[in-house]
């Protein structure tokens, strides 16, 4: 049975394109964005409407996008370019400006190419490759300051400290609520599965933030009020999803894992939990926001050379231990080199910790579903029996 609050969220998402159109008629400015480090709080504080853009899972958009960008770009980037080219997605069509950050260099290219062909007003936010270095922190502060000026030009006003403080508080609350949703998954007490939690997270891309937070609160209250599930399915395999993003609309892998009795108990995805973690805006200023974004879990498209200080790896390892996951499924999208080139190293490092990893390399076509199913099933068989001395694996 669908939770009442979940249904409300779904209904709100359905109605949102109409609301956006209405807001535009009233003179509101819509800022679409793609990235990981776009400081949405600043957009919100200026009275602009932020909407996170991009969808996955549609092969047709991938093909369309490749006509503008390249068939060598990752399927998500191609699909996004397809969306820009087609211009039927209500959020892209409605966006008065689009912002891209350079954490993923292919996203930067997407920004350049969509700007040229689709003539949208486009903003870029520079991102350093090594967030830990002191010069990088300073550089990023300047980038965010510059980005803010561009947003202020767009809004026709300056960021007011009170509004910024309010927006920061609202976003902190949203992140905390999402963390709590994931916590229920972690401890096996969630009436929602991972896919549904993802749906709730993705709803936040589009909805009015105050309304979204209110709906999240309703959802959490409803979950808290439900009786605790006491008998977990002993046949299921507990999995953490890692790797390339799984964008709204891309359900191939999660559906398949579910069908073969897998339970995704958490993720460390750009499109999932990660944006809600490790964000502590101590100082409610533009600089404070810049520092907090720089100090969050580094995006997987940023290389890490310091093995002793690999926050992303430590976070994934900790998540496996915390959730008692039996393994990691590492999802890599075709031509997402930032994820695919990490695979061997990550697999070997996790193996040393006793954590098995299966890489699933795929794109948005349906042609590889059965091949993936076979691989996932085999992986689950191994995980189920790996501690059984009577079974050779």
């Amino acid at each position: 049975m669908t939770l009442v609050a979940l249904q409300k969220i779904r209904d709100a998402v359905q109605q949102r394109p109409g609301e956006i159109e209405e807001e535009k008629r009233k003179g509101k400015i819509i800022v679409g964005w793609v990235g990981y480090l776009i400081p949405e709080e600043i957009i919100h504080a200026l009275g602009l409407i932020p909407v996170r853009l991009g969808r996955g899972g549609d092969e047709r958009l991938v093909e369309l996008g490749a006509r503008y960008i390249s068939s060598q770009n990752c399927a998500f980037i191609r699909a996004c370019m397809g969306m820009f080219a087609e211009n039927t997605d209500p959020y892209i069509r409605g966006a008065d400006a689009v912002a891209f950050d350079n954490a993923c260099m292919q996203v930067y290219r997407l920004g350049e190419v969509s700007k040229y062909y689709c003539k949208k007003k486009t903003l870029f936010l520079g991102v350093p490759r090594d967030p830990a270095s002191p010069s990088a922190q300073k550089y990023f502060r300047h980038e965010v300051e510059h980005f803010t000026q561009k947003l202020e030009d767009l809004a026709g006003k300056k960021v007011e400290p009170e509004e910024l403080t309010g927006s920061i508080g609202l976003y902190q609350n949203i992140r905390a609520a999402i963390c709590e949703l994931y916590h229920f998954l972690d401890i096996g007490e969630s009436p929602l599965n991972w896919k549904e939690v993802g749906e709730v997270v993705h709803a936040g891309y589009y909805l009015d933030k105050t309304n979204y937070f209110s709906l999240l609160q309703e959802l959490l209250s409803e979950i808290r009020s439900l009786p605790v599930i006491t008998a977990p399915n002993s046949n299921e395999v507990r999995i953490i999803l890692s790797g390339s993003l799984i964008a709204p609309g891309d359900v191939k892998l999660s559906d398949l894992i579910e069908h073969v009795n897998g339970n995704i108990v958490s993720d460390d995805l750009w499109s999932g939990l990660n944006p809600s973690l490790n964000m502590h805006i101590d100082n409610p200023t533009i600089m404070g926001i810049a520092d907090a974004y720089m100090n969050r879990i580094p995006h997987y498209t940023l290389p890490c050379l310091d093995k002793d200080n690999d926050i992303r790896f430590e976070h994934l390892k900790a998540a496996v231990l915390k959730t008692k996951a039996q393994g990691v499924i590492y999802h890599t999208i075709r031509y997402c080199d930032s994820a695919t080139l990490k695979t061997t190293g990550l697999k070997n490092r996790l193996r040393k910790e006793g954590i098995p990893l299966l890489e699933i390399h795929t794109e948005y076509s349906g042609s590889d579903v059965e091949a993936i199913r076979t691989r996932v099933e085999a992986f689950f068989e191994i995980l189920k029996f790996k501690d059984n001395p009577e079974v050779r694996v």
């Binding site: 390249s70 350079n102 260099m105 350049e112 190419v113 270095s133 050379l305 080199d337 061997t344």
Partner: protein, 464 residues
């Protein structure tokens, strides 16, 4: 069925022309006489590197048949003996540092290091066995590519994949320290992949402020990154980098860049192309200095003088048709097979990749780090794609190109992404025809028919 092609030989008649040239004088005082060069190019070289003398038409790096272009022969000598100089550096304890194109070698060399590109890794391994014939070299190269990809990812581009060989091979590399620039997205991940499982070679990434617009803080950031690079290189080489050292190196390399620009301008000014495609272009020599800038500059001066004479006398490069179709190449790391282009009625007049660095001027007074940072931040190839396209148009016009080929490697997410956009801008602004070609043949010597077929069709279209 295999076909044996006869090995190329320099005709004895040209020996006297070579004998009229000066000794090559290297930084360590070594002198190489024209007699020694002749002996190498006709006796030692063919024994050590038989594949390099192959006349197999598929071979993209065939020696030029323009045997009266003496500076061309001397350049080839420098290229072929580069491995010997690198071995000497290793013996003498001079650190070799893996870099990538995009920024120049000034700082690395001022710090007492020798920068080498990813292709060096493969080249070093290939050269551990001398006497390879064409087919043997071809198969050995393919096997190395496979090994490299296994170590990294099958989606890595052929060039950057070479970094993967460091996981399984022992090579005399003291550090991996590339600047990321905006040209390539795989290098960072390749270094990370190496680092995630090995600590044999220290690795460091020089960050680059990829962004759409100019900003003072971006130059400042790059300057700090260069300072940080200098500190790391100092630890590797044990040599302190003083401002005076760096300025001296900038002056030396500025001279190389200026000479290379001069050569190109003279080449472009000719009513007919003064050399064929294989001999054209000095950007790599101006950029890397054949691992020894003073001797590189000596050759660049000779090239400039010889080009001037040819242009003055209306000499056309050997092997070119009358009025060949002039092709400007965009992209990175790859160009069409020069011999093939010439045979089909074209000629390569330039490429944007290394040329971007050659066009860079570094100020010689003031803070050398700031000067380098300002120059690097303004590199046209690394700027926003729209700016890069406008700069490319200037080069296309200056070189009187008839068409533009944007070529990139399979697995290159980053150049491929803007290939269509750049060629569309060029088409719109110049009206010239353009073509985008994806190739998978870098480091390969066979199965090139598909890309050659496309190049040929493009040239045919231009010549109609």
């Amino acid at each position: 069925m295999s076909t044996e092609y006869p090995a190329f030989r320099y005709p004895d008649e040209i020996k006297s022309l070579l004998m009229e040239t000066d000794d090559l004088v290297f930084t360590d005082g070594t002198r190489v006489t024209p007699e020694q060069i002749w002996h190498f190019m006709t006796v030692t070289g063919p024994k050590r590197f038989p594949f390099a003398f192959s006349t197999n038409p598929a071979f993209g790096h065939q020696l030029s048949r323009d045997v009266t272009l003496i500076s061309g022969i001397r350049t080839t000598y420098l290229n072929m003996t580069g491995i010997d100089r690198l071995r000497k550096f290793v013996r003498n304890g001079t650190p070799l540092v893996v870099v990538q194109g995009g920024i120049t070698s000034d700082l690395y060399r001022a710090a007492g290091c020798i920068p080498v590109g990813p292709m060096f890794i493969r080249g070093w391994i290939m050269n551990t066995t001398e006497g390879r014939e064409y087919n043997n070299a071809n198969l050995a190269g393919a096997a190395l590519l496979e090994e490299a990809r296994q170590n990294l990812s099958f989606e890595c581009c052929n060039l950057i994949a070479n970094i993967g060989l460091l996981k399984t091979r022992n090579l005399p590399i003291a550090a991996i320290a590339p600047c990321l620039c905006s040209r390539c997205s795989d290098m960072a991940f390749a270094v990370e992949a190496y680092r995630s499982e090995s600590e044999k070679i220290p690795s460091y990434i020089v960050d680059y402020p990829s962004n759409y617009e100019w900003g003072e803080w971006r130059v400042e950031f790059l300057k700090e990154e260069l300072h940080s690079l200098a500190e790391r290189l100092e630890k590797i080489s044990g040599k302190e980098v003083t401002d005076a050292d760096l300025t001296a190196e900038i002056k030396l390399e500025n001279k190389a860049r200026a000479l290379s620009r001069e050569c190109e301008q003279i080449w472009w000014s000719g009513k007919v192309p003064p050399t064929n495609s294989g001999d054209g272009g000095t950007a790599h020599l101006g950029l890397m200095g054949a691992f020894d800038f003073p001797v590189g500059n000596q050759i660049l001066q000779e090239t400039r003088d010889e080009l001037q004479t040819r242009v003055r006398n209306g000499v056309k490069g050997y092997g070119l048709v009358d009025d060949p179709s002039r092709l400007f190449i965009c992209g990175s790391c790859v160009i069409p097979n020069p011999n093939f282009v010439d045979k089909k009625g074209g000629v390569l007049v330039g490429s944007d990749d290394a040329w971007s660095c050659i066009c860079m001027d570094v100020k010689e007074s003031g803070d050398p780090y700031e000067n380098l940072a300002e120059a690097y931040a303004s590199l046209p190839y690394e700027r926003s794609t729209e700016e890069r396209a406008m700069w490319t148009i200037e080069q296309v016009k200056a070189s009187r190109s008839d068409g533009v080929v944007f070529m990139y490697n399979w697995g290159c997410n980053y150049q491929s992404a803007v290939a269509g956009m750049i060629t569309d801008i060029i088409k719109e602004e110049t009206g010239l025809p353009t073509i985008t070609i994806e190739v998978g043949e870098l480091t390969r010597m066979e199965s090139l028919e598909q890309s050659q077929n496309r190049v040929e069709s493009f040239i045919e279209m231009l010549r109609k």
